[in-house]
């Protein structure tokens, strides 16, 4: 199946929903690692929206990206409660360990604010991180 056909299939699978755009975008992002211009064109056609409308939505939300990034990704919380527990002091060593191989992404709160610093890799969560533990996570990502 071509990519476009698969995107059409995803759009069709959400047909019964009211306001189906976000669920569709989540599915496409998960499957292809991005929502690119080609995908936007297909979605716009399927939902009878303009490409500008679809692009406006895709570019608004942090979760959708225009290009795939194949690197493993570690999301590190840098919000206030994790800052209060020393999250900022872990950044330098984590960045050094990550280099270009691992993507370190800042996020703002994972709901683990009493046991931070906290990080997330996919659906796996990590808490009570110190510099050594985070470097280990980066190295094994």
């Amino acid at each position: 199946m071509t990519r476009a056909a698969r995107i059409v299939e995803i759009c069709v699978s959400h047909r019964g929903r009211e306001g189906p755009l976000l669920p569709i975008l989540h599915d496409i992002q998960r499957e292809f690692g991005c929502v690119d211009a080609e995908a936007e064109r297909v979605i716009a056609h399927e939902l009878n929206l303009s490409r500008a409308e679809v692009h406006g939505v895709v570019s608004f939300y942090h979760d959708f990206s225009a290009e795939p990034d194949p690197r493993p990704c570690i999301e590190l919380c840098r919000a206030e409660a994790c800052q209060a527990r020393g999250a900022e002091e872990l950044i330098a060593s984590a960045e050094a360990a990550a280099g270009e191989r691992v993507r370190l992404k800042s996020v703002y709160c994972l709901g683990l604010c009493s046991v931070g610093p906290a990080a997330r890799i996919g659906d796996r969560l990590h808490a009570r991180l110190d510099a050594a533990a985070l470097v280990k996570l980066v190295q094994s990502a």
Partner: protein, 503 residues
């Protein structure tokens, strides 16, 4: 066979609960996965015959079973952190399996929904109003009045929307409730639907909460018949903090950019897809089942102080020794919360500041720690309760840096619709940088003769501070929603109490 109860809440998992559970299974125990008690410094916490052990690692299991573990904390229900609480919304925390319908029914589940089936909509709304319940999302608007507006709004199609976009740093009560007691939320939504005449409900959950999303989806599958003909669907956010604002959230469900709408019209009259919509936070909806049992509304009304009725699930977070969920009647002071209950800072250093109410909440100085937890008292002190998150900072925090962070966060998360928030936040970052750097001279472009309006001489610190004050005022009164409107709170409070951190 020994039965061991261990939480499967995301926080327990993050602290390594699965490995501990596996070690108990390997040792021949039967492991039951339950919700979390909310004593986060003790997670992973195991409970055997009511006795708690924590925080455990898998290597502790042998000693726990042999009765020689030094991580024994005694009877959990008698632990001072639990005993001092008054748990209504979190009555089941630690005690039930989140997706067990039997556990839910055995602890009073569905009795409120059954009761309201025979009541008129207006009677339900009247009882919610009588309880004094106010929106737990931050604004504290009376829940009953919102429901009545939707009930009385004309229109064949109405919606119940649950705001589970818990983006505030320092808050996790929504997450704990969705993961630990999802049926209670669904029951609350079903009652709200009956009260206003809605057929469809949505729960908008942030994408940072994958465990809550899967628990809710599983729970909805299990209760389909209980709540029929009402239907509930989970919608997953996409990493935009501003979607916690109710009108941005509605746009997001509709599949649009999460931009804030101007009010009026109120969502209660023209909300989701233009239809009357009741939007409530997770904790507000989850309070409805225990309010709607006989006597529940009066009990709720009897708790708390002044116009802040009932209980508030307070979240103790940041640099605090005993962090976790503390549900109690309104009126408690920060001194009690941080020192008596929370045990001071985790680092052992003195407390410097506390931020209550998330990234948009004021920084509170230790001299104000006797302030009672109450919507109006906080408003009077230029602070807010918000969603009840309490984040503690020790003396190593730099309040100038945190004020800058507040502007920076606002700049990153602004939806862009209104100018004070979109532009003001960026100007705020620059201004604080300038103040902290001790001012700056005109740059080469500003110095050009043709730049008539550009200032040529250096601003004094007093002038820069005045400019910051003007900016804060513009943002506070000129922004469309709370993101731009409340960002001045952390900034101003930091500047007021810790001016030395700005030089």
């Amino acid at each position: 066979m020994t039965v061991v109860r261990i939480s499967d809440d995301a926080l327990a998992l993050a602290c390594g609960a699965d490995a501990v559970a596996a070690a108990f299974v390997a040792a021949g125990c039967m492991v039951e996965r339950v919700s979390s008690w909310g004593m986060h410094w003790l997670e992973p916490l195991a409970e055997i015959d009511g006795i708690g052990f924590g925080p455990l690692i898998s290597g502790d299991v042998g000693a726990v079973l042999a009765g020689t573990s030094d991580k024994r904390i005694g009877a959990i229900a008698d632990h001072p952190f639990i005993k001092r609480q008054q748990r209504l919304t979190f009555a089941r925390a630690g005690k039930t399996r989140p997706l067990s319908l039997d556990d839910y029914a055995a602890t009073g589940g569905w009795s409120a929904l059954k009761r309201v089936k025979s009541m008129a909509s207006s009677e339900i709304v009247a009882e919610v109003t009588h309880s004094g319940l106010r929106g737990r999302g931050g604004a504290g608007f009376p829940a009953g009045i919102k429901c009545r507006t939707v009930l009385e709004a004309p229109g064949p199609r109405k919606y119940v929307v649950c705001n589970a976009d818990e983006g505030d740093s320092g808050t996790f009560a929504d997450r704990m409730l969705m993961e630990g007691d999802p049926f209670q939320l669904l029951e609350g939504m079903a009652i709200a639907a009956q009260a206003v005449g809605a057929r469809q409900g949505y729960i908008y959950v942030r994408s940072e909460y994958p465990h809550a999303i899967s628990k809710l989806n599983a729970a909805i599958e299990l209760v389909r018949e209980h709540i029929a003909p009402f239907r509930i669907e989970v919608r997953v956010g996409a990493g935009a903090y501003v979607c916690g604002e109710e009108t941005a959230l509605l746009n997001s469900i509709e599949g649009k950019r999460g931009e804030v709408r101007a009010k009026p019209p109120l969502p209660a009259l023209e909300g989701l897809f233009g239809c009357p919509t009741v939007v409530h936070n997770v904790l507000t909806l989850a309070a409805i089942p225990h309010i709607m049992v006989p006597g529940g509304a009066s009990l709720y009304d009897s708790l708390g102080i002044d116009r802040s009725k009932g209980t508030m699930p307070i979240q103790l977070a940041g640099n605090i020794r005993h962090g976790g969920l503390f549900e109690t009647a309104f009126g408690i002071s920060l001194n009690e919360l941080i020192h008596d209950i929370g045990g001071g800072t985790a680092s052992g250093r003195p407390v410097k500041a506390v931020q209550v109410g998330g990234p948009l909440g004021a920084y509170i100085h230790p001299s104000q720690f006797d302030l009672p937890f109450d919507y109006e008292a906080y408003a009077g002190a230029d602070a807010l309760i918000g969603h009840g998150g309490v984040v503690v900072f020790d003396d190593q925090a730099n309040m100038g840096a945190l004020a800058r962070f507040a502007f920076q966060f606002c700049a990153a998360e602004s939806c862009g619709k209104c100018t004070p928030c979109r532009i003001g936040s960026t100007r705020g970052v620059e201004l604080i940088d300038r103040i902290r750097a001790g001012g700056r001279d005109a740059d080469p472009v500003e110095a050009l003769a043709q730049m008539h309006n550009a200032r040529k001489d250096r601003r004094s610190r007093a002038e820069d501070l005045q400019l910051l004050e003007d900016l804060c005022e513009t943002m506070q009164f000129g922004s469309l929603c709370a993101l731009g409107g409340f960002t001045p709170y952390p900034v101003r409070s930091a500047l007021k109490h810790w001016p030395e951190d700005f030089s």
